[in-house]
Amino acid sequence: MHWLDGLIQGVLLGGLYAQYALGMALMFGVMRIVNLTHGDLMILLALTGISLAARFALGPWPVLVILVVLGAIIGLLLQRLVLDRVVGSDPLPSLIATFGLSMALQNAMLQFWSADTRSLGAGGIAQASFQIGSLFVGVLPLIVLLTATVLTGSLDATLRHTRFGRALRASSVDVEAAAMTGVNPKNVYAGATAIAVAILGFAAVFQSMRATVAPADGPFQLIYAFEAVIIGGMGSIWGAFLGAMVLGISQSIGFRIDPGFGILAGHLVFLLVLALRPQGLMGKV
């Protein structure tokens, strides 16, 4: 029972990690853009949401709507003002630019919000749970997992079956050829980054409802997102979801072996996948 509980908690934790990972799967996995501000943007959205909720006495769901819209706008600006200028065949400029931006964001947030950890009041839903046999399953983690599943399915279907999805896949393969087929790559990339950061709006709300956030937390979310995408396989949206599950389960089981071992267990499983199946679980060779 102990281990089964670990497994279920791991899957639920994976639901949250999947929400970090989806935007990364789109930007790093499909577009091959390294965006080191990924985690910091989530923290920025979370802190903004917490402040808005406190200032205007908003519940978590109105905050969610605001953060998703705000995320889309931030993503659009990030692509237009920063990434468009540095993205090319050489990955180094985007790495350096977003590394600098990440530092600046973390310190700006520290200045504005201080180093305190904060969270978003979730009402009764944070404590609500139901019992299956002798296992307790939290309602909020279950909502997080369901949301992650729906988001993954929608994003995957968008990439496969829509005009935007085909244009994005084409641009990722050969941006010049896509332009020669009538695609405006700048618009497509701006749309994709907007979607990637908008999804972080979901992650921001659920992260700050389930746990706490502080200005310096971004790099952790960034690492989990990277690991989930790589475990799952570059370019695969459901792969990133699966990678997030693997990471969540590894950490959850690790915590049960030893409370200090949880995070490390996740990293070790990541390294193991990298060694044994470098293309990822669902990646094509």
Partner: protein
């Protein structure tokens, strides 16, 4: 000829410090097939890249329908009815044949009576119907070229630019591909054929231009131009003397 569909006027293009084209005057009328021949590095592909908007040129250097369009971005040119079969095919690997074609349908020129449909492409190249769900990189070279041509046609072009569509293909496949040229032309689409094979270019076109080191050295009706004149224009005067 009355007003050309597209013309270039004193077109110059450079890659950084290297000047590739030195004042090209080129024109093509509605429904015409014009061949562009010349040795490697003569500037044929550069001319096509300048027309489609991959190289920045001054607006008045490229005139489409009497309007200056030089330097317009490629997606604007495609919307205006110029499409290209790029050198080396440049297909979207990892995507199915049908998805490759759909990208072009999604971004086609808006027109009331679209000349080309997916069915039309499958009628032109029946093998693609069989392979429609297959990843495009698993096709043979000739089949990939058919996808590249189909993709450009589905942009609903008034002018189709074909960059070395016979390159690297077996003679039988080249014949098969070139058999599609008359039916494309009959739909009213003008075609520019960049071609290394002079005989092929001559027989498939109404007019031809020969380029050498960034300049046009010969132009005229394809059937009137002698092989000797082409040889001289192709290799330059010094070679003809030797």
């Amino acid at each position: 000829m009355n007003t050309p569909l597209l013309s270039t006027h004193g077109l110059v293009a450079r890659y950084g410090d290297f000047q590739a084209l030195y004042g090209i005057d080129f024109e093509i009328g509605k429904g015409e097939v014009v061949a562009l021949i010349g040795a490697n590095g003569a500037g044929k592909s550069t001319l096509l890249r300048s027309i489609i908007g991959l190289l920045r040129v001054a607006p008045e250097m490229v005139i489409l329908d009497g309007r200056p369009v030089g330097g317009c971005r490629p997606h604007r040119m495609i919307a205006d009815g110029v499409a290209i079969v790029p050198e080396g095919r440049r297909l979207f690997t990892g995507m199915s044949v049908e998805d490759n074609l759909r990208v072009a349908i999604d971004h086609a020129r808006v027109t009331r009576n679209a000349a080309w449909t997916l069915e039309g492409i499958f009628a032109l190249f029946p093998i693609l119907r069989e392979k429609r769900r297959v990843p495009v990189e698993s096709l043979s070279g000739g089949q990939q070229q058919m996808v590249a041509i189909g993709r450009a046609l589905l942009n609903q072009p008034r002018l189709l630019l074909c960059d070395e569509i016979s390159l690297g293909l077996a003679p039988k496949v080249v014949r098969e591909i070139y058999q599609s040229i008359p039916s494309i032309s009959q739909s009213g689409t003008s075609i520019v054929l960049v071609e290394q094979d002079v005989g092929l270019a001559k027989s498939a076109s109404d007019r031809l231009y020969c380029m050498l080191e960034g300049r046009t050295t010969l132009t005229g009706r394809s059937r009137d131009i002698s092989r000797e004149a082409i040889a001289e224009a192709y290799f330059g005067g010094s070679h003809a003397l030797a």
